[in-house]
Subunit: 274 residues, 2 copies
């Protein structure tokens, strides 16, 4: 989960998203609309008897925030919460199947953009190909599946690519949080399958966006173009705009594959082959 | 406003209740579902440019809670917030037209029940009666309106009740917050026009209600009866009960004038004449 504003539980309930599926929460910055849903969410997880550990990542103040809450609001947890203060850009979370990278973005207070980067997965194993090459079922199969070349008793070599399909590339999703356009994003978001970008105001309010540390629709689209991402999702659009369709049109003039995120928008990113 | 749970702003928006009308917030106890809406509410008030002072009343930890938030979540207010820590039972807020009394209730942590008690207001002044008694418009009228007896140049006395209608009695509304039945409520809520009472569980779960510091529907109705209130509002009903109509029936067996509070329930309490 990336960011956790007030009322998140209610929205998850409507979206029928399981609270227990969440194992990691990444907070972009310490503004109420990005963090105030955290205490209530944790409390409800506990009421539901959660036992799985929960990791929370965010700017340094996230720990003091949670400590302040647990000192003053009665807070009984049934599970372990580990808080990870992010100090600098880099990989902040390394898992078997994915990593999460952080980079400093450019809001009015310390803030981070995050990239969720899946690792490549080996392609499918074809037993009939292995058998045809004289590799019988057993330890040699698992060696090949693990990407190792093997030698047959005949002296011949069999390489993984002889018996397996194309590896599936990992997907990359970048979430900027609240930010002005910032230079580091081009490299950070390079080639991402999806860039979820702050797009608070229209270009007519560019000065205001700059002052409050936000991006305009045009700036978000330019950033998407520069980083060569595959899809742009505009988010955090100001409540002053009732109709967002004109922002979509505007963004598409600069970057074609753009959508505007609404509450409960779901977008599937298909698995990729090399 | 009595208690301020997560998502309160959203509900107020739907109910079309002005945020700026609120001048005082009373917190019954420091559980998240009664207090976590406060930081976001204050932040939104500030975004709307509020200038009026806001008073917050609650258990001692309310101050440390707000301080913890303002140290960790960026929090810029455009108005003064005064936090009043409640230490003991009694009048905690004394205004010209009303007072708010607090009493210790009986939850699993320090908690207060509140009574909003309006002061009596003088009845309407009838100029024609004054004139008929020989009191001409001027300083003598305002003396009578302020409840003072006057003397006419003829030596005759005129009393306020000669020229004014019946005084209007103040209304009394009691809100228990989360609580087990507690002895002090009988006197505290005596004769209230409305008692809003914790009614978390049905009587079949009385042991659980006791353990978690809540009341059953029956207990709430008994308390209303004992205190001789005019109306009972059942609230804080557990989410496990989808249909609350049976609780209403049950309560009415014990105390007839009962209703179940739903989101956005509005109940008018008419002005009273002596």
């Amino acid at each position: 989960m990336f960011d956790c504003g007030e009322g998140v539980q209610r929205q998850m309930l409507i979206a029928k998203t399981s609270l227990n599926k969440i194992t990691k929460i990444f907070i972009s910055h310490m503004h109420g609309d990005h963090v105030m849903g955290l205490p209530g969410l944790l409390q409800t997880m506990a009421l539901l008897g959660r036992e799985r550990k929960l990791d929370i990542y965010g700017p340094a103040k996230i720990r003091e925030f949670m400590q302040g809450i647990s000192r003053t609001v009665q807070f009984v947890l049934t599970f372990q919460v580990k808080i990870h203060k992010i100090k600098r850009a880099g990989i902040v979370c390394q898992e078997k199947e994915y990593a999460v990278h952080a980079v400093r973005s450019k809001h009015v207070i310390t803030s981070f953009a995050y990239a969720y980067v899946e690792k490549s997965r080996p392609g499918p194993f074809y037993p009939e190909r292995a058998k045809a090459l004289g590799v019988s079922e057993g330890p040699l199969w698992s060696k090949l599946q693990k990407g190792k070349e093997i030698k047959l008793p005949t002296g011949e070599s069999v390489r993984p690519e002889d018996v397996m399909g194309q590896p599936r590339l990992g997907r990359k999703i970048v979430y900027t949080g609240d930010t002005r356009p910032f230079r580091g994003l081009k490299v950070f978001a390079e080639g991402a399958d999806m860039l979820i970008h702050d797009s608070t105001l229209g270009d007519e309010l560019a000065a205001r966006a700059e002052e409050y540390g936000h991006s305009t629709v045009d700036q978000a689209a330019e950033s998407a173009k520069e980083a060569g991402v595959k899809q742009l999702v505009l988010t955090h659009i100001s409540q002053r705009y009732e109709d967002t369709s004109k922002w979509l049109e505007q963004a598409r003039k600069i970057f074609k594959n753009a959508v505007v995120a609404e509450d409960f928008t779901r977008i599937e990113i298909p698995l990729l082959e090399k």
